[in-house]
C-alpha cells in the first residue's frame, strides 16, 4: 500500500466506499428520528415550544405510557425468570444433552415469531373460544374468565402473549452466559467449603448480574415498541403507547400533530434508555467473559 502521500495530500476518495451507507443511514434512520424530535419542540406557528412535551401530561397519554411500561416490565420480568429457569435446567440441571440443540433452534424460531400470527395463535388457544378455554369449560365446568379474571384482550393477555417471544430470546442470550460459568469456579468454591447456596449467591450470581439486567432491558425495549400483536389482540381501543401513536398517525386522534411527535419522542427516550442499558451491560459482560 504505497499509493498514499506521494503527492502530499490526497482527496479522501476512500470515503466514497462508505458514502452510500452513510447517505442511506442519514436519510432513512437519522433524519426521520431528528424530524420527530424537531417536531416535538415546534408549535403550530413553527416556533420553538415546550407545549407539546408538556401536553404529554394529559391523563390519556400518561395512562398509555404507564400501561405500556407495566406490560413491558412484567413480560420482560416473567420472560427472564422462565427463560432463565429453562436455560439453567438444560445447561446446569443435568438434562440429556440432546435437548439442548433443538431448544436453541426452536428459540431462534419462536423469538422471531411475533406480530399478528402470534396473536392469532393465542386467540385460538386461550381466547373466548380457544382450545384451553373450551376444554376447561366442557371437562371441568370452569369458566376461565369468571374464575380467574383472565381476559386475553387485556393487558394480562398481552403479557402472556409476549412471553412467547420473550422467553426464547432470554434462552438464546443467557445460555452462553451460563456456559461461561466454569466448572473450576464451582469446584474451587466447594473445596473452600461453600454450600451450593453460597456458591450461587457469592460467585455465580454476581457474574451473571450484568447479563440478567442487560437481557431484562432488551426484553423491555423489545415489547415496548411492539404494535402488531397488541393491535390484533385488542384492536385500536387498547390504550398503550404504540397503539395510541398508531391511531395518531392514521387519524390525528390527539387533535394536535405536535403532540403526536412528542408522544413518539417519549417512546424513543424510553426504548433508548433501555437499549443503552442493554448495550452497556453487554460490553461489561463481554469484558468479563474474555
Amino acid at each position: 500500500m504505497s499509493h498514499a502521500s506521494s503527492s502530499g495530500r490526497r482527496l479522501p476518495t476512500q470515503w466514497l466506499g462508505v458514502a452510500p451507507f452513510f447517505l442511506f443511514a442519514f436519510l432513512f434512520l437519522l433524519l426521520p428520528a431528528v424530524s420527530i424530535v424537531v417536531g416535538a419542540f415546534r408549535g403550530a406557528d413553527g416556533g420553538f415550544t415546550f407545549d407539546n412535551v408538556a401536553g404529554l401530561k394529559s391523563p390519556t397519554i400518561l395512562n398509555a405510557y404507564w400501561v405500556s411500561i407495566r406490560v413491558s416490565f412484567w413480560s420482560a420480568l416473567l420472560g427472564c425468570l422462565i427463560g432463565f429457569a429453562m436455560a439453567a435446567a438444560v445447561v446446569l440441571g443435568g438434562l440429556p444433552r440432546f435437548i439442548r440443540s433443538p431448544l436453541l433452534t426452536f428459540s431462534g424460531v419462536a423469538s422471531n415469531f411475533a406480530g399478528l400470527p402470534l396473536a392469532f395463535a393465542f386467540i385460538a388457544t386461550i381466547g373466548p373460544a380457544g382450545l384451553i378455554t373450551v376444554w376447561l369449560r366442557t371437562e371441568f365446568g370452569i369458566n376461565l374468565r369468571a374464575a380467574t379474571g383472565f381476559n386475553l384482550f387485556s393487558t394480562g393477555g398481552l403479557i402472556a402473549t409476549y412471553l412467547f417471544f420473550q422467553v426464547p430470546l432470554m434462552i438464546l442470550i443467557i445460555t452462553p452466559a451460563l456456559d461461561g460459568l466454569r466448572r473450576e469456579w464451582r469446584e474451587a468454591a466447594e473445596i473452600l467449603g461453600a454450600t451450593p447456596a453460597q456458591y450461587w449467591r457469592m460467585i455465580a450470581f454476581p457474574i451473571l448480574v450484568p447479563s440478567l439486567l442487560g437481557t431484562f432491558a432488551l426484553l423491555f425495549a423489545n415489547s415496548f415498541g411492539a404494535v402488531a400483536t397488541a393491535f390484533a389482540l385488542a384492536g385500536p381501543q387498547l390504550n398503550i403507547a404504540p397503539i395510541l401513536l398508531f391511531s395518531q398517525i392514521r387519524g390525528d386522534v390527539l387533535g394536535s400533530p405536535g403532540l403526536g411527535y412528542a408522544l413518539a419522542l417519549g417512546m424513543i427516550v424510553i426504548t433508548g434508555i433501555a437499549n443503552t442499558l442493554y448495550l452497556w451491560l453487554r460490553s461489561r459482560t463481554e469484558r468479563w467473559q474474555k
Binding site: N112, G115, A121, V227, F246, I268
Partner: protein
C-alpha cells in the same frame, strides 16, 4: 432432586410454546363441525387477496434482500479493509433500528417524504414501494450487518484483496468474485432473517398503505374465525423454514482453511 426440578422447569416452560402451537393447529383444522378438515386452509388459499398480498410481500422481501446486500457487504468490507476507525460509528448506526421503534421510524418517513416535501416519495405507488423497501432495509440492518461482519471476520480480506489486485482485478471483480462468494453463507443467513422479518411485517406496510401480507392478516383476523389460525400455521411454517435454512446453510458451509499469521 435436582433432576426433578430441572425437568419440571423445562416441561412447564415448554407449555408456553406448545399450547399456542397446538391451539392454533387444532383451531385451523376445525372449520367443519365435528371433524377435522383442511377447509380453513382451502378457504385461505382460494382467496385472491391472499395470493396478491403474499406475492407482494415475497417480492418486497427479495428486493429488500438484494438492496440490503448491496448496501451492507461493500460497506462492511470497506470499513474492515480501509477505515477500521469507522467501525464503532457504523456499528452504532446499524443498532439504531433496535433503539428506535419501527412505528417511530415510519412516522418520521411520513413527515419527511410526504407529498408536499422536497422528496415526495409517498406521492406515487412506486415511490411508496421504494420507501417501504428502505424501511425494511433499516429494520433488517442490525441482523444483516452483524451476519456479514461476522463472515468477513473469518476470512483474511486484506490478503485476498491484495492477491486479487496483483492479478489485475478491479474493485467490481474483487467484490463480486472474491469477497461476496467468500461471505456467501453469512449473506444467506442475513437474507433468510430479512425474509422472515419482512414477510409478516405489519406496522410499516399498514401506515404506508401498501397491500402487503401483514395488513391482510390483520383484515382476516378482524373478520374471520378459522382462517386466522390457518394463516398463523402458515406463517409459523415460513418462519421455521427460514430459520431452518439458516442452520442448514451454516452447517453445510465449507470451513475456511486455517490461517497462519
Amino acid at each position: 432432586m435436582k433432576l426433578l426440578f430441572a425437568w419440571s422447569a423445562f416441561l412447564l416452560g415448554s407449555l408456553i410454546f406448545i399450547l399456542p402451537l397446538v391451539g392454533m393447529t387444532e383451531f385451523s383444522l376445525s372449520m367443519r363441525r365435528g371433524e377435522y378438515s383442511f377447509d380453513a386452509y382451502a378457504s385461505v388459499l382460494a382467496d385472491p387477496q391472499f395470493r396478491a398480498t403474499f406475492t407482494y410481500s415475497v417480492v418486497m422481501a427479495l428486493v429488500t434482500i438484494v438492496f440490503g446486500v448491496l448496501l451492507v457487504v461493500p460497506t462492511a468490507y470497506w470499513v474492515r479493509l480501509r477505515m477500521p476507525y469507522l467501525r464503532p460509528v457504523v456499528e452504532f448506526i446499524t443498532l439504531m433500528p433496535l433503539v428506535i421503534p419501527a412505528i417511530v421510524i415510519v412516522f418520521g418517513y411520513i413527515r419527511l417524504y410526504n407529498t408536499s416535501s422536497w422528496l415526495p416519495l409517498t406521492g406515487s405507488d412506486t415511490g411508496t414501494n421504494i420507501l417501504l423497501m428502505f424501511g425494511y432495509t433499516a429494520l433488517a440492518l442490525p441482523y444483516m450487518y452483524r451476519a456479514v461482519d461476522t463472515g468477513l471476520r473469518s476470512i483474511d480480506i486484506a490478503t485476498l484483496t491484495e492477491a486479487a489486485q496483483s492479478l489485475g482485478a478491479g474493485w467490481m471483480t474483487i467484490f463480486g468474485r472474491v469477497i461476496l462468494p467468500n461471505v456467501f453463507v453469512s449473506v444467506l443467513s442475513g437474507a433468510f432473517l430479512t425474509f422472515a422479518i419482512v414477510i409478516g411485517e405489519f406496522t410499516l406496510a399498514a401506515l404506508l398503505n401498501r397491500p402487503a401480507f401483514g395488513p391482510y392478516l390483520q383484515l382476516v383476523g378482524a373478520n374471520k374465525a378459522y382462517e386466522p389460525s390457518a394463516l398463523a400455521v402458515i406463517s409459523f411454517a415460513i418462519t421455521w423454514l427460514c430459520m431452518g435454512l439458516i442452520q442448514i446453510v451454516v452447517r453445510l458451509a465449507p470451513r475456511p482453511p486455517a490461517q497462519s499469521h
